[in-house]
Every structure is written in C-alpha cells, then in structure tokens.
Amino acid sequence: QKEVEQDPGPLSVPEGAIVSLNCTYSNSAFQYFMWYRQYSRKGPELLMYTYSSGNKEDGRFTAQVDKSSKYISLFIRDSQPSDSATYLCAMIWGNTGNQFYFGTGTSLTVIP
C-alpha cells in the first residue's frame, strides 16, 4: 500500500464550478499537509499547507485535513481556466527530506 493515495483524474469542470481534490494516507504520524500546483512544463509550487487537523482558507482555495479519517482535501471555488494544472498533495512527519511524501497528482482542466 502506498503511503499517499491520490486519484490521478483527469478532472474536467466548467468555469465557475467548485472543485474537490482529495488524498488519503496511511501513516498517522504525518503532521504537515501540503498542496502543490504544477503547471505544464513547470516544477511544482506550494499552494497551501496546514498543520494537523482543521481547515485553512486562502482566497478561493480551502485546504481541509481530517486526521481521524486520514483524508485531506483541497476545494477550489469559482474555478478559473488559470486553475488548470496538476495538483499534488504532500505530507511529512519529520523535518528531513526523506520523510516527505507526495501523491501522484490530479490533473485538472477548467473549461471556459
């Protein structure tokens, strides 16, 4: 079983839709939960991070962590064509690189 599972999609939605992206994980020791966005032919960039359980909002983006279910989500409200990218979840339990686990990424296309 992989440490982090993420549905690869692809996901295609009309402009203005609410998008829900999800990851599940198996290691209850994970403490930091991140979402990275990767545009085509670019490296990933950090979108949001949360520590432990709860919600965090940043503009049109909301990150949600449910540690009891080992489930994290990223919601995008009023989706825009510029949101079209691959979204990767990531999580760590320590402070060194070998404890950093990425999901495989979900490809999102927002259609104008």
Partner: protein, 111 residues
C-alpha cells in the same frame, strides 16, 4: 523570489553514458533535493542534502549519486545511464521543512 535553476530543460543521452544534472539555488537554502517524476508514480525522492558535503539517500538512490561541494549547487550523477532512467528530474531547495521550491525540471531521455 527564490530561484532554482537546472542546467538543461531537455537532455538526450545514450545507454552507458555518464550524465550530470546540475541544480543551483540563489536563496542560501540549507536543504536541497533531487526527485524524479514519472506518470502514475508521482514524485520520488532520489537523494537530498541538508548541508554542504552532506547527503542522504531517498527512496530510489540506486543508479544515482550526488555531489554538493557548495551550498548553492547540488548535482545529480547517473554513473551509467540506462533506459529506465528516462524521466523528468526535478531539483528543489528549502529552508524549512514543508515548503520546497522547485526548478523547472530536466526531461532526460536515455536511448
């Protein structure tokens, strides 16, 4: 803005060649990382370094080595390239634990 640059965007090499991938960051970050990214497998950590001349193996170090002689530069070396090393290679750097800054990637093809 943090900038992480990688020496090549695209590279084509032959089986058995020695390949050097260079990464430079300009923000005085302590930590640097090398990943490969493959469809369906996501990002997998090859090596990382938390200080000059220090290195740690990641999940898939076999067939790779690294060098960090200066803080800003982290090199990935494929001693004898093989076709199964055809991939996108991403370098990253970080100061803290959770935010990594990635370079644009090098798409390596081994024929």
């Amino acid at each position: 803005d943090v900038k992480v640059t990688q020496s090549s965007r695209y590279l084509v090499k032959r089986t058995g060649e020695k390949v050097f991938l260079e990464c430079v960051q300009d923000m005085d970050h302590e930590n640097m990382f090398w990943y490969r990214q493959d469809p369906g497998l996501g990002l997998r950590l090859i090596y990382f370094s938390y200080d000059v001349k220090m290195k740690e193996k990641g999940d898939i170090p076999e067939g790779y080595s690294v060098s960090r002689e200066k803080k800003e530069r982290f090199s990935l070396i494929l001693e004898s390239a093989s076709t199964n090393q055809t991939s996108m290679y991403l370098c990253a750097s970080s100061l803290g634990a959770y935010e990594q800054f990635f370079g644009p990637g090098t798409r390596l093809t081994v024929l």
